[in-house]
Amino acid sequence: MRETFEMETVSTDVSQKNCERWDSLHHLTLVSELEEAFDIDLEPEEIAEMTDFSKVIAMLQSKL
C-alpha cells in the first residue's frame, strides 16, 4: 500500500474516504499488486468491498 500510494507510512485507519490518492485507478493497481503478492484471485464484488484498511486485511485473511 505504501508503494502504490507513494506514502511514507500507511496508518491503519486509512480508507478511500480519507486518502486522496486512493482513487479508483489506484485501487485497481493496489488490488493487482495484492493478487500478485499473495497469489490470490479477487472477484469484482470483493474488490468493491475493500474500501478501507481493515476491510482489506479482513479480505486477505479470508483468502489465505
Binding site: S24, L25, L28, T29, S32, E35, E36, P44, I47
Partner: protein, 530 residues
Amino acid sequence: MTTFVFRNQTIEAFLGYKDMTYSGYDDISQVPSDVDRYIWFYQVPVNADSAQLADEISSYRDKLDMVLAGAGGLKPFIILSLVNLFPLRLTGNESAVEEAIASFNSHAVALSRQHANVKWVDFDEFTSRYSSDLLVNWKYYFMSQTLLNPKLAHDFQAWWQQVEAGLRLQRKKCLVLDLDNTLWGGVLGEDGIDGIQLGGEYPGKAYTYWQRSLLQLARNGVILAVCSKNNEQDVQDVWLNNPHMVLKGEHFSAKRINWQDKATNIADLASELNIGMDSMVFLDDNPAERELIRQFLPLVEVPDFPEKPYQLMAFYRQLVEKYFRVYAVTDEDRAKTEQYRANAMRNAEQSRFADMESYLYSLDIAIDVIQADEHNLPRIAQMTQKTNQFNLTTRRYTIDDVSQHLDMGWRVYCMSVSDRFGDSGITGTVFLEPVDDVTVNIDTLLLSCRILGKGIEEAFIKTVFNLLRLDGYRAVRADYLPTPKNGQTADFYDRMGMTLEVAGEDGSKHYTMALDGVFEIKNCYNIRVL
C-alpha cells in the same frame, strides 16, 4: 519533463502518474501546448462487430494527423503502434480489422520518417513476449477500461525505460568480440579451419545466425572490432577459407589478435578507433576475461555471454535492446563502418609521405560548408549529443533546441567532408550567437573525431570567420569549457590566433578576436560554401 498522453483506455498503471497528463478516452479536442512532449498510446478497442471495429480504427489515422498538426513540429511526439491484444475472428478469411491496424501502423512509420520530432515505437516488441491469455485481463477491463493486464505493469515499465533510453540516444558505438566459442564454436588453434563449429547442423547453425545478426549491427552503424587470443595468420586463414564465415576481416573496423592481455588490447582499440571506452561493449565466452575487463576497464560494458549456442539469438535481442537501439538511424550511421575502415587506410597512406602538406594534397579533401536546414538538423543535433573529443563547449542540444536558436537569429553551419577514400558526410558544426550588430559568440564548435588530424578544423573555422567578415561582423567571442574528454581542444583558439581574455580556475578560457583581414587557408582543401 512533462508529457501529455493521447489514449483511449486506462493506461495510467503503465506509463505512471509522474509528470504525465492524460487525455479523456479517445478525446482529441485538446492539444495542450504547455507540455514538453506528447505520447500517442491507443489500444484496439473491444468490439465483436469487426466491420464497425475496422471503421473505428481507420478513424484513428485522421485523429492522429489532427493532433500532430496541433502539436506543431518541434516537441517530441512518440507514437506507439497499435496491437490487437484480443483478435476475434468469426470466419477464417476475415481481415478488415488487421488491415486497418496495419494501415494505421504504416502511416505512423511514414510520419516518423517525414517529421524529425516524431518517433515510432513498436508496442508489439513488448506484447509479443506474452501469450494472449496473459496480455488481457477481462476482470480489470470491465472494472476500469484497461484491456492490457495491470499485472504486466512492472514489466512494461522496465521495457519503457529501455525505449526512453533509446529515445535519448544513449547507444553504444562499438562491439568488441572474442573469436573462439564466441563468434564460432570450438577453438581455432585446436580444431583447425574446418573443425570449428559454423554452418551446417546445430551447433554450427546457431553461430551462423548469430554472425548474420551481428552483420546487421555493422550495417546499421555499430562498429565491430575483434579482440582475441589467437595467431593472426590462423584467423586470416579462416576468414579466407572457411566458406561458412559470414563475418570476415573487412567487417571489423579494428583488430587485436595477439597474446597480450585483453585490457591493454581494448584500451588500444579505443584509441585507434578514437572512441571513448564508455561507448564499447565487450563479448567473451570466458568469465575470467570478462572479469578482467570489468576490473580494469570499468567503463566498458561487459554482459554475461550465453552458456549454450542455442541461446545466442535471444542474447542478440537483449544486446540490441540494451545497447544498440536508436529510434532514427541516419545514413551517416549506416556508413560509419565504411568510414572507420577508410580512416585506417588513410593512416596507412600517411606513413608514405614525408611531410604532412603533400599528404593532405594527395587526399583531395573537399569541404562543403552548409547552412543548417531541415534536412541536416537531425544530424547537427545528434552531433552535439555524441561528440566528446573535439568539442569546445560540449553543449548538448535537441533538434528543438537548434530550431529555437535558428528562430532567434543564430547562424548554424555544418560541414560535409569527403576525400578520395570516401565520403565522411556531415562531420562538424558551428553555432554562432549574435551578440550585437558586429559581434558574434561561438556557442558551439565541434568536429567528429573521425576527420581529425587533417587540419580540417582550422580550414572550417577560418572559412566561417571569412563568411562573417563579408557579412559585416567585426569581432568574435569564444569559450573553451574543459571536460574529461576534450583536452585536445584546450589551445585550439590560441592556435587560431585569438586573444585569451579570461582564464577560469576550472580551466575554462574566454577569447576574443577582431575580424580585420582575410584568414588565409591552405589550398590543399577544396572548399565550397553552399
